[in-house]
């Protein structure tokens, strides 16, 4: 029996286990998955929790349910990866797992401990986050009784997973406070280290315009050094200050500590890999998928989906001694919720920025690219169903291919 060991049963690890289990001969291959948490969280749903749109029911399910019966799931934190010895040591009873192939899918996680002042006396009082389940719930309770003031959303450092989520939060906040007839008592600001609202020029232009229309301010190129919780101030490395009443922070995102400890990570504990095949740049039997990998594309569930599809095909080639195809192009596809039952859709890859047009069927849609529409909002809401029922089990999604398509897009 050959052994595949998958670290992390989140979005990428679960999809990879399902795909490989489907494609490989079960008499010859044994797949084991390790995760420290029995619960699978639908993280895109965290965005909706603070506004009372989603609750526990929509975002929390047991991991086991999404893995095939013949795949072994072990619940334990991972202590150490020893790539030279082809083995992994777990925290539970110091169990040792050997592998022929290792797939790292331990994701990337918010680390408020990385910024002085965040997790002190004001944490979850006037300083909140929504990148964790607990954080999203705490923020919901805060917003319920909040009387208004200056709400600042700040991005500590790039890259973060789902780089559009902070923008969506602001759009939804604008809608939420308007519904509650208190928008005039709330000032909304985005504080970001980026030169503008987003990373890609055309999308930034559209999003900035939408921010202006909604009276949401942007403070660009602000790299936060520390937070002064008592004075309620964000302070940048060049000594600029932004005051707030309520801070919704997107903390530094880092890969799992075990990646760093095992000498497999970059300065943020993300694993350097070939950007088309996910093969580690250091070891020829280690791959990294999803947010855990250091890649020049967005860290998102949709990206993980395209990545796993591309990876699974290649993995079969690879173990049969054939060359892998450079078949992952950095494809990302993100719905951006813009409030009032509308949304935007962006579709891009390593080389092509988000462009206007129709998706997935050229000229028909139904989704509109880089343009607000109601159907895009339904796309975003439908994504949850798709996630639990199609993405995680590794089913093919009709009309949507791994590689980005230029058909139906307008460039100038």
């Amino acid at each position: 029996m050959k052994k595949i060991l998958i670290l992390g049963a989140g979005t990428a690890g679960t999809m990879a286990a399902n795909k490989l289990n489907h494609l490989l001969n079960k008499q010859e291959w044994q797949i084991t998955v390790v995760d420290q948490d029995e619960t699978h969280y639908y993280q895109p749903g965290f965005l909706f929790i603070p506004f009372g749109i989603y609750g526990e029911q929509e975002v929390v399910k047991p991991k086991k349910r999404f893995l095939p019966a013949n795949v072994q799931l072990i619940i334990s934190p991972i202590q150490l990866i020893e790539p030279e010895k082809n083995r992994v040591i777990l925290e539970k009873e110091n169990q040792i797992l050997e592998y022929d192939y290792l797939i790292i899918a331990t994701g990337t996680h918010p680390r408020p401990d990385q910024t002085p002042g965040l997790t002190e006396e004001e944490w979850r009082k006037s300083i909140h986050d929504f990148y964790t389940y607990e954080g999203a719930i705490a923020l919901r309770n805060k917003l319920k009784n909040w009387q208004g003031g200056h709400l600042v959303v700040n991005i500590m450092e790039m890259p973060i997973k789902c780089p559009v989520a902070p923008l969506e939060f602001l759009f939804l906040a604008d809608w939420y406070f308007t519904q509650r007839q208190m928008r005039d008592r709330v000032k909304l600001t985005l504080v970001t280290p980026l030169p503008g609202a987003f990373t890609k020029p055309k999308a930034t232009q559209l999003l900035s315009q939408m921010f202006t229309e909604r009276g949401i301010e942007v403070v660009p190129e602000f790299y936060t050094e520390r937070v002064e919780p008592a004075q309620k101030l964000l302070i940048s490395y060049d000594e600029e200050e932004v005051p707030y009443d309520l801070l919704v922070t997107i903390p530094v995102n880092m890969g799992a500590d075990v990646i760093g400890r095992s000498g497999l990570g970059d300065e943020l504990n993300h694993v350097p890999v070939d950007k088309h095949t996910f093969l580690s740049t250091k070891y020829d039997n280690i791959f990294a998928l999803g947010d855990a990998a250091s890649l020049p594309t967005s860290k998102a569930g949709s990206v993980a989906h395209f990545a796993v599809e591309a990876f699974a095909e290649n993995f079969i080639r690879y173990v049969n001694g054939r060359n892998m195809e450079p078949n992952f192009d950095g494809h990302a596809n993100c719905f951006i919720e813009t409030g009032y039952g509308k949304g935007i859709l962006i579709d891009f890859n390593y080389d092509v920025e988000p462009l206007p047009g129709k998706f997935p069927l050229p000229g028909i849609g139904p989704f509109t690219l880089l343009q607000e529409s109601r159907i895009n909002h339904w796309g975003k809401m439908m994504f949850r169903w798709l996630y639990w029922n199609m993405l995680l089990p590794g089913r093919e999604i009709p009309f949507i291919s791994n590689q980005m398509s230029l058909a139906g897009k307008q460039s100038d």
């Binding site: 450092e157 790039m158 890259p159 980026l194 190129e221 790299y223 060049d238 970059d266 020049p296």
Partner: protein
């Protein structure tokens, strides 16, 4: 794309001011680009520039801010003093490298 005459030579830059052809880079060019940003290069500046150029040779990518501070020993605070407002991008421009990809 723009072409500028710097220290007596025609040099091409992309829309964001990053050097098109890495071979056009010289120390004089770096001085001139820095001067344009209002920066006079000191040995400390050069330590950072040289680190970034070497790192680029190793990895093929311009280092992010976090990488510079972790690997070169210069603190973030110092970097902001040396290259105010967006040090990673400014160093990459002065060092003749491409735009850092840390921001996606």
């Amino acid at each position: 794309m723009t072409t500028l005459e710097i220290v007596g030579k025609q040099v091409e830059f992309d829309e964001e001011g990053f050097l098109k052809n890495p071979d056009d880079w010289t120390r004089e060019l770096a001085e001139a680009l820095a001067a344009e940003m209002g920066i006079t290069l000191t040995p400390k500046h050069w330590q950072v520039i040289e680190f970034c150029r070497q790192d680029f040779q190793r990895t093929g990518e311009s280092p992010t801010l976090r990488r510079i501070t972790k690997e070169s020993g210069v603190t973030t605070k110092e970097l902001y003093k040396l290259f105010p407002k967006g040090p990673a991008k400014k160093v990459a421009r002065i060092a003749g490298l491409k735009k850092p990809t840390g921001c996606i």
